[in-house]
Subunit: 248 residues, 2 copies
């Protein structure tokens, strides 16, 4: 019966997370395409061992003093104590392989923090779309897709990804649409999917990155299924639970 299927719900902003319809038995997918969740997938794809997401810069600085590698950005600026910033390219260097990285960003880690009471929290990006959908389908739980947005505002790229994930999940028989947000996200995706980079030209944040010279990573961020990683939260850390990743 249709009502026995697991629900798919989309929150277009962290502000809308507390109003979600689903309150039990759910997995949260965190989405911050530009840039945290794309970067986290990139990190694991390149052999990072563990990521410790922290919400505040103070916390990140404390970890740095203890000798951890720290990745951080605020509004596109890398704090002076951090080892590198938030671009997916920063996580592709030999120095990160096998390491634990402490990670704090403008939007992404805030969303992760907010979702941590859910049964499971997983990281979603275009680069791991299909493996993620397959893994979610195997969990037999309701899915809440939480778009990190930009400082709590709706943003186009995260909503666009939410629609892509909705479409991929609906290919499995155990899911159903559950809210208008998911319905609309799917329409957004269908509007732009044939020309992803062209569609994303309309996004404000894409231009924000361009102004700051941070848009070199754009094409990579909108590449579908380049990795098999499934980064999930476990004991306040993010690890990759997919044993089929390329680099280990």
């Amino acid at each position: 019966m249709e009502n026995n299927k697991n629900t798919i719900e989309v929150c277009f902003s962290p502000r809308l997370y507390e109003d979600r319809l689903t309150h039990e038995n759910f997995i949260v997918v965190i989405v911050d395409i530009l840039r945290a969740t794309t970067s986290i997938c990139s990190a694991f794809d390149n052999g990072v061992k563990k990521i410790i997401p922290v919400a505040s810069l103070d916390e990140a600085r404390e970890y740095k003093k203890k000798g951890f590698l720290v990745a951080s950005e605020r509004d596109g600026i890398v704090p002076d104590f951090a080892d590198f910033g938030n671009s997916a390219f920063n996580f592709m260097t030999p120095e990160v392989v096998g390491k634990t990285i402490v990670y704090s960003t403008t939007n992404g880690t805030h969303a992760i923090e907010m979702a941590k009471s859910a049964e499971k929290v997983v990281i979603g990006a275009f680069t791991n779309l299909k493996p993620l959908a397959e893994w979610l389908a195997a969990q037999d739980k309701n899915v809440v897709i939480l778009c990190a947005g930009w400082k709590n505002k709706f943003n186009l790229e995260d909503s666009f990804f939410a629609g892509a994930l909705v479409e991929s999940l609906l290919e499995y028989p155990n899911f159903r649409l559950f809210c208008d947000s998911a319905t609309v996200a799917l329409d957004i995706w269908k509007t732009g999917k044939e020309n992803m980079l062209g569609y994303i030209e309309k996004a404000l944040h894409r231009h924000r990155l361009k102004r700051m010279g941070l848009d070199d990573v754009l094409e990579y961020s909108f590449t579908l299924n380049s990795t098999n990683v499934i980064p999930v939260m476990e004991n306040q850390h993010i690890i990759n639970i997919n044993k089929n990743e390329k680099t280990e």
Copy 2:
């Protein structure tokens, strides 16, 4: 210059109103297609003199004791003390002509309350779309379209209307898109505009109304430009400032 144009911004939920980019020199358009803003336009089109929006049922009950006509609904249910509910059809009877009506609903009056510190607050519906756009273009202010949603959740019908209004405003040279929400609202509208009632079949609230037998007003709610009314807030009341309305 493009940056000298007035901005158009969309808030998909009251929860997102405080995060809006525009904080000065703006007019708020309240949108609650099913049903408050459609009903308010209907009321003025049918000769209602004034509407007093109140957020709480207690306040509505007090007005009733003083002899006012009271329209109210909570989750589609009309409280026992109210004269009638929230359907646009309730405001088309001879008994309301020339009257002041006290009005409290699930979502719409909450959004009105939230917006009241803006320079101007105006009521938008498909039924007054073009006259509203024309009036907004004449004001030379930034526009924030505030979707009432359903209990703070994103909803399809209000976002669909937001897109229609964005399209109508962009026909005037003094407006520019300002946020991803407005960009996406426009795409939603373009996806569904050729078959409005077909598109809105996907909306959850449309089915909520159907289950309660309250969906008779659906076709009316998605009729374009059937009235010239421009309902605006003035001293905590809503009045119609368009002198070209049909019934006076």
